[in-house]
Every structure is written in C-alpha cells, then in structure tokens.
C-alpha cells in the first residue's frame, strides 16, 4: 500500500466533480439550520456518523470485492431514499471513474456507479486496501461539505480546517469500523440514515436558483 497513492486519491483537488456538490449543506444553510462554525461542526459530525459510515463501509467492501460492484450499487440504492441524492451520488461516481481512468487501470465498473462503490473499485485498482478506501470515503464525506461551508457562509477557512483536523480521529474510527465489515454480505453492511439530508436534497432539487448540484 502506498500512502502517497492514498493522498492522490483523497486530494480535494482531484478533478472528480466534488466541487459542485455541497454534501447536503446548501439546503440546510437555506433553512437556517446551519449558520456558523458550531452548527457546521454538528452537521459534519451527524453526516459522518450516518451517510459517512455507509459510504465508508461500501467503499471498503467494493475495494475488497471490486467484482461485486452491481450488488453494492443496489445496496446503496436501498439505503438512499432520496432520488436526488441517488442521482448526485451516481454523478460523482461517474466523474470519479472518469478521473481515475486516466490514473490507473480500472476493471469494468458500469457507467454511473454510486460514488462509494466507484471509490472502492478505484482504490482497489490503485493498489490500496479496504481500510484506505474507507478512510478516503469518510474524509471525503466531511471535506466536501466543509469546503462548501466556506463558500456558502463565508466562514474563516482556517477555522473550518481546524474543524476538519478535530474530526480526523472520528474519520479514522468510522473507517476502522467500516473496514471490519468489508467481507460481510451486502445486507449486513451499515444502513444508518439521516432523514433531514434526504428531505433537504428533495427540496433542493426543486429550487430554481441554487449554487450547488446537490
């Protein structure tokens, strides 16, 4: 396993479409639930413990078993009630595959897999293990939304990165838990949900004016 390879994959500057997604933050900012650093911190903790855990578990499982992508894809479908979130996840999976095809030799992964499944398959092709795939997924769950918070709320970028540093041990913990289930049947993988993210995404998709794709 190459640590530098993991950094390349998890780099926020990887051109994999993430910059256009707020990770569910934009609708919560608009609703007034997230206003400043403290509420961003709560939002990120909640996201990490729910959809972050699911993303990490599926990335780890897809990394351990990259040939089972279709099965994991369905597993994420049934864990994602919001059609808008399913669409956003598939768009980011497609974008990640586009970037990764120029970086490593990928197996067939379908046209538009869910992002965590694409991440697992890409991590495997890059020679990374299930734990590294899970770390990248957990970190990506919070770093994308944190970047959106800087842009949407005009927050101090140092303060937001301080937040990400404090969340790093939580990302490690979530990833370690996710990696333990990398060999489990898809129905036994975590299924934590965050209903406000689903509701927010559905409302957001109907807006005439929005800055982020999701």
């Amino acid at each position: 396993m190459s640590l530098a390879t993991l950094l390349v994959l998890a780099d926020g500057r990887l051109p994999s479409g993430g910059h256009a997604h707020s990770g569910g933050l934009e609708p919560q900012v608009s609703a007034g639930r997230v206003r400043e650093l403290d509420s961003v911190a709560e939002f990120l903790r909640g996201k990490l413990a729910t959809t972050g855990l699911v993303a990490a578990a599926f990335a780890a499982a897809a990394c351990a078993r990259p040939g089972n992508g279709a099965e994991f894809d369905q597993g994420i479908d049934v864990r994602t009630p919001s059609p808008a979130l399913r669409k956003a996840s598939r768009a980011q999976g497609r974008a990640l595959l586009r970037a990764a095809r120029a970086m490593w030799t990928l197996p067939s992964a379908g046209r538009e897999p869910h992002q965590p499944v694409a991440l697992g398959i890409v991590a495997s092709a890059a020679g990374l293990g299930a734990l590294e795939a899970a770390v990248a997924a957990a970190h990506g769950t919070v770093s994308g939304a944190a970047s959106a918070a800087v842009r949407l709320l005009g927050l101090d970028p140092y303060a937001v990165h301080g937040l990400l540093a404090r969340l790093a041990p939580d990302c490690d913990r979530i990833a370690a838990a996710a990696a333990k289930t990398a060999g489990a049947p898809v129905d036994d993988l975590p299924a934590a949900g965050a209903p406000l993210l689903d509701i927010g995404a559905e409302l957001h998709a109907t807006w005439e004016v929005r800055l982020f794709a999701s």
């Binding site: 051109p15 256009a20 707020s22 586009r98 004016v209």
Partner: protein
C-alpha cells in the same frame, strides 16, 4: 505577401511595405481532426459582457445549418439555459445546464467532469453533432477553458466594462482563440475609445484575431458565426 506578426502597436507610413493584420476569417492553428464528436467551442468572459446573448445569436445564425447544442454554466443553475429557451433559439433537449458550486472557473478549467458529462449526454441523446457551445458562468479576466473540455475558446468583453480591459490582459484576453469586444453601440455613451481597445488587443494578442460586435446592429453575430463556420469547415476528415 505573408502576414507579419504585429506584437506591438504601430502606425502606417504612406510608403511602407504592404502587409496584413490578423484576419478573423483565418485560423492560425492547424486544422482540428474531425472525429465522431462535435467541435467544442468555449465562450467565456466577465459577468454581463454578453456571453448568453452571443450564444443566442449564434444559435439563430447557425441553428439551421449545423447540428448544434449548448451547455451553460451559470452560477444560478438554469438562468442562462432559461434565457435561451425563452428566446426560442434552441429546443430544450439541445440545452444542458451545469451547476458549478460557486466556482465557474473550476467547472471549465480545474474539474471539467460535469461539463464533459453534459457534452457526452447531449451527443448520446441527440446523435452526432457538428458543434457544442460551452458557455462559462460570468467570471473574471483570469478564467480560461481547459483544453480537455473544448477545442477552441472565445473570450467576450464589452466596451462598458472600460476600454482598458484589453490592456489589462489576463489569460482570457491574451490567449483566447477569438476575442470579441461586444456592445460597441454603447461606446459613445461610456466614452470608450475603440481605437485604444483595438490597439491594445493587437499588442496583447499578436496573431490571434479580435472582432468588434454589436448584437443590436448585427443580431446574427456575423463575424463570430463566420469564424465558427471556418472552424467547422476546416476540420479534416478522420483518417
């Protein structure tokens, strides 16, 4: 008589050797290879310089002769796409809007995935196309398109933004394949000196062409449409 480079402003003496200035009808690049995919032309420029109006004019001018589609990158989701629809210049299935997450320059330069997806989806849905126009969100003078996204790019500035804009330079002004100085009908109202803009554009751009445009006077954006016709015609057949 071969054209000479005009890297610096100059005046013409009565007895000088005849020479030509850069001709917007002549593309200084090697012809693009023709392939299965459409020619992709990026249209960038500052907020309010008239990018969407130019795209609408090009759709009117070229829509009947080329198989055409448009991708818009307005920061507010569908504003530009809606403008094109309201003006009836293209059917809805030929326009895609891309959201850019507050970063229009990122979506056309650093992370082009959403735009590439939109272009590919248009070609998949509509069949082979001759031309896809990719309109950037309004940005600043440093915004340029990635060559991974487009084949050629147009940069649009307007006289109301100040006649110093060409002198200020920036990658859009200096390196775009075509510079459009727009809204020249407003020049007297904003005290913009077109000869200054012309001189500065030549100094900044060397051989690259610049055209002056007023969509009030020329609703078909003729010099820009002709430039694009030339690009399409010059595409060499695939080997």
């Amino acid at each position: 008589m071969p054209a000479e480079p005009h890297a610096a402003p100059h005046t013409h003496e009565p007895d000088e050797v005849p020479h030509t200035h850069p001709d917007p009808g002549v593309d200084p690049h090697a012809p693009l290879a023709a392939g299965a995919r459409a020619l992709r032309v990026g249209i960038g420029g500052p907020v309010g310089s008239g990018k969407t109006a130019l795209v609408a004019a090009l759709c009117r001018a070229l829509g009947d002769e080329l198989r055409l589609a448009v991708v818009t990158n307005d920061i507010y989701t569908t504003e530009d796409a809606d403008f094109l629809l309201r003006n009836g210049v293209l059917p809805a299935d030929r326009i895609r809007a891309v959201e850019t997450g507050c970063c229009p320059h990122t979506a056309i330069r650093d992370d082009i995935s959403a735009n590439l997806d939109a272009v590919e989806d248009l070609e998949a849905a509509l069949g082979p196309l001759d031309l896809v126009l990719v309109e950037s969100g309004g940005d600043n003078l440093t915004a340029t398109f990635s060559k991974g996204l487009i084949d050629r790019q147009i940069f649009v500035v307007d006289v109301a933004g100040g006649d110093k804009v060409p002198r200020k330079g920036g990658p859009g002004v200096t390196a775009a394949d075509l510079l459009v100085i727009n809204k020249i009908d407003l020049a007297p109202l904003v005290s913009a000196d077109l000869t200054v803009m012309d001189r500065d554009a030549r100094a900044r751009r060397g051989e690259l062409p610049t055209v002056f445009l007023s969509l009030v006077q020329d609703r078909a954006a003729s010099p820009v449409a002709d430039w694009i016709r030339g690009l399409v015609a010059a595409r060499v057949p695939a080997a």
